[in-house]
């Protein structure tokens, strides 16, 4: 009796969010999956005017077998790889520089963090102009800038390259998120007590050894969090790509864009299948992380 009384109040408190989660997250994931295993490919089927039937994993097999979807997945992989590496390296470098109290540190911190305050759509429009693919006489944006400073050889067609074009779109993404990674790392640096550094120095550690054996291990959890946050943002990227390029442009297709195009073609089954593929990819990144942090907390 006493035990029940202790369990009820917290459960009551949690109930609203549990219900909302169950319906709007897990319920909709289930609905999405059930749509993806039907042949719901037309507007008439979507509204129930014509019957849909169960087709198993045919939509998935069909999608993964097409060159176009493989191209989208490849683009996603390239984009995520470059975006992750770029924002981690930049963010860490900035944090490392600002970590030692320097003059104007607050100003620089704000300057680096600012891009994050801009929405992807707004910055996307500006970057579309900067990343104009014209070269030579008609060049504008970055290509024109390269000409002005005499680096003509650096001109390129940016996101209009069929294979590597998507990497050009990672540039604005890195520009926007590096400051955030910097903030995470700065917090990590600040969380390391000065006593540890002093102790290491007393023991005769060189500056490199201090970083290698004292500071970096302490920063590992921060780095992992940053990786997961940036990683899943990158996998879900849609707004930035759509504002720089267009849904129909082959060179910048990613699964999220495919999902949008299928949806606007009233092909709900394939759209749902792409959605599930994306969810699985994100889960592959997130679940090991959750598992790892959970286990660490339990052992503590």
């Amino acid at each position: 009796m006493n035990g029940v009384r202790k369990v009820w109040p917290p459960l009551l408190m949690l109930a609203p969010s549990l219900v909302v989660l169950a319906v709007f997250v897990y319920g909709l994931i289930a609905a999405n999956f059930t749509t993806s295993i039907t042949d719901n490919h037309t507007a008439a089927q979507a509204t129930g005017q014509q019957p849909t039937s169960f087709v198993g994993l045919d939509n998935y097999v069909g999608l993964l077998a097409t060159d176009d979807f493989q191209h989208s997945l490849m683009n996603l992989l390239l984009f995520t790889g470059v975006f992750l590496a770029g924002s981690m390296v930049m963010g860490f470098m900035w944090a490392w520089i600002l970590e030692r109290p320097a003059r104007g540190e607050g100003l620089f911190r704000a300057v680096y963090l600012f891009p994050m305050a801009v929405s992807f759509v707004a910055s996307g429009v500006v970057w579309r102009w900067l990343l104009n693919s014209n070269q030579g006489e008609n060049a504008s944006g970055l290509n024109r800038l390269f000409q002005m400073i005499g680096l003509d050889a650096l001109q390129n067609n940016w996101w209009n390259n069929i294979t590597f074009g998507i990497i050009a779109i990672a540039i604005p993404a890195i520009w926007q998120l590096s400051g955030y990674v910097m903030a995470l790392f700065l917090a990590g640096f600040r969380g390391i007590p000065d006593e540890l550094r002093e102790a290491a120095r007393m023991d005769g550690a060189s500056e490199w050894q201090l970083y290698r054996y004292v500071l970096f291990p302490q920063l590992a959890p921060v780095a992992l969090s940053a990786l997961v946050i940036i990683g899943h943002m990158s996998l879900k990227s849609f707004d930035l790509i759509m504002s720089i390029s267009k849904a129909a442009n082959y060179q910048t297709k990613v699964p999220a864009v495919d999902m949008f195009v299928f949806k606007s073609s009233f092909d709900y089954a394939n759209s749902a299948a792409v959605g599930t593929v994306l969810l699985v990819i994100v889960a592959v990144v997130i679940i090991p992380y959750l598992w790892w942090t959970n286990r660490k907390e339990n052992t503590r």
Partner: protein, 426 residues
């Protein structure tokens, strides 16, 4: 202590979010519960700016005169040349919360809504308002699906028009008044322009490339062969289509390299600024030249895409009566105004298109519009691909994707033709 504060903030934000969601959910059907079925009409369009907005305003003025007892509610959604509006419309129809009437391109684009039983047959209204006699027969044929008509066209646009800068043409040693009988002759002219270093043909993002593609197909296959592509009578894999796609490939070779990042006004602007010689675009481009203060034929010239003389590649904005509209009588009043001679005159004069009715007063229309009106009355009418008149949305999306793949260089001509044939279901 800190933790509780964070939790309260999170809870507060969540509660605010729920409250907002509740508001927006309630807003949608707020109008439906009060009063009768004809005291207002929510008109859903993507006419939110420029000449389109001006046209809508002019139409509303006529509507207020003809139906003073019905309140006009503007449901315009801006963004993405209509794609944002279509996206929202799709969800609203799906959720059973349709506007009273919505804008859609007349023709095959309506097919999905018809199949989904989301729009009503308005053939009765055609009889009631006397529209059957007022619209040309060619147009009625293209609006009729299995003996029924599902929308009332407000205007007519022409997609197969070339806009050119006479200054650039003269600089290249070309006569601005010259007429080109075929795509081949046109290509020769472009070579002359290319020699001067200017862009021979300006084009923008993928849908404008599809617009170019359809006019090339129309020029090479003729009106009948072109229409056959959509009815299944013309073989997509045939050698005549291959030859036409080769023309398209050549023409794309003359275009600006930054095309995929531009939209149609940017491509038209290149003609105005004298950076490019030719541009193929629907006749809504006329408004851009008018805005720049240009006069034809001194500042710009226009002619049908070479090889399509005597053919009118049409598209039309039309209004529908959705199933389950909260104010069907209001919607009917709106459709009456849209179809009326006064409504069509006011709307089209402001928007720069031409009336679908043959008896509307067009005496005050501009010079380009007068030529379009003559052509529309005399020419063979065919349906535009890029603007949803010729095919349902799904097929157009597939053709668009294949075109992007081809023009970026990711597929060769044979693959392109195969993908087009596959999109057409062959």
């Amino acid at each position: 202590m800190k933790r509780t504060r964070v939790l309260t903030t999170v809870a507060g934000v969540a509660a605010a979010g729920l409250a907002l969601a509740g508001c927006s959910g309630g807003g949608g059907d707020g109008g439906g519960s009060e009063g009768g079925s004809g005291d207002e009409v929510e008109v859903f369009t993507w006419w939110a700016a420029g000449t389109e907005k001006a046209g809508l305003d002019a139409l509303v003025e006529v509507f207020d005169e003809q139906h003073p007892d019905v309140e006009f509610v503007n449901g315009a959604v801006a963004g993405g040349a209509g794609s944002a509006a279509k996206d929202l419309l799709q969800s609203r129809l799906q959720a059973g919360d349709p506007p009273d009437t919505f804008q859609a391109h007349a023709g095959a684009e309506l097919q999905d809504y018809i199949d989904a039983a989301q729009v009503e047959d308005v053939s009765d209204l055609y009889d009631e308002f006397g529209l059957t006699e007022a619209f040309p027969e060619d147009l009625l044929d293209r609006l009729t699906v299995d003996g029924a008509i599902y929308s009332v066209p407000a205007n007519i646009h022409r997609a197969n028009v070339v806009w050119a800068n006479p200054g650039v043409l003269e600089e290249s040693g070309l006569d601005p008044a010259a007429e080109y009988a075929s795509i081949d002759e046109w290509i020769e002219a472009m070579e002359a322009v290319e020699a001067t270093g200017k862009t021979p043909l300006s084009v923008a993002t993928t849908w404008t490339q599809v617009n170019l593609l359809e006019t090339v197909l129309l020029a090479d296959l003729g009106a009948e062969g072109y229409e056959g592509l959509w009815s299944g009578e013309t073989d997509w894999t045939g050698s005549d289509v291959t030859a036409s796609l080769e023309h398209f490939e050549t023409l794309m070779g003359f275009t600006n390299t930054d095309r995929d990042g531009l939209d149609w006004p940017d491509a038209t602007q290149q003609i105005i600024d004298g950076q490019a010689a030719f541009n193929v675009m629907g006749d809504w481009a006329e408004a851009s030249f008018a805005e720049a203060g240009f006069e034809a034929p001194a500042d710009y010239v226009y002619f049908p895409v070479p090889g399509t003389e005597g053919v009118f590649d049409f598209l039309a904005d039309s209004f529908t009566l959705p199933v389950g509209a909260p104010h069907p009588d209001g919607a009917k009043a709106w459709l009456e105004t849209v179809g009326s001679a006064d409504g069509q005159t006011a709307f089209n004069q402001a928007k720069g298109s031409i009336p679908a009715r043959t008896d509307a007063d067009t005496s005050e229309f501009g010079a380009y519009q007068q030529t379009a009106i003559t052509s529309f009355a005399e020419d063979t009418i065919v349906s535009s691909l890029a603007h949803g008149a010729a095919t349902p949305v799904a097929m157009l999306n597939q053709i668009t994707d294949a075109t992007s793949k081809f023009t970026t260089g990711a597929s060769d001509l044979a693959t392109y033709q195969e993908e087009l044939a596959a999109a057409a279901g062959e």
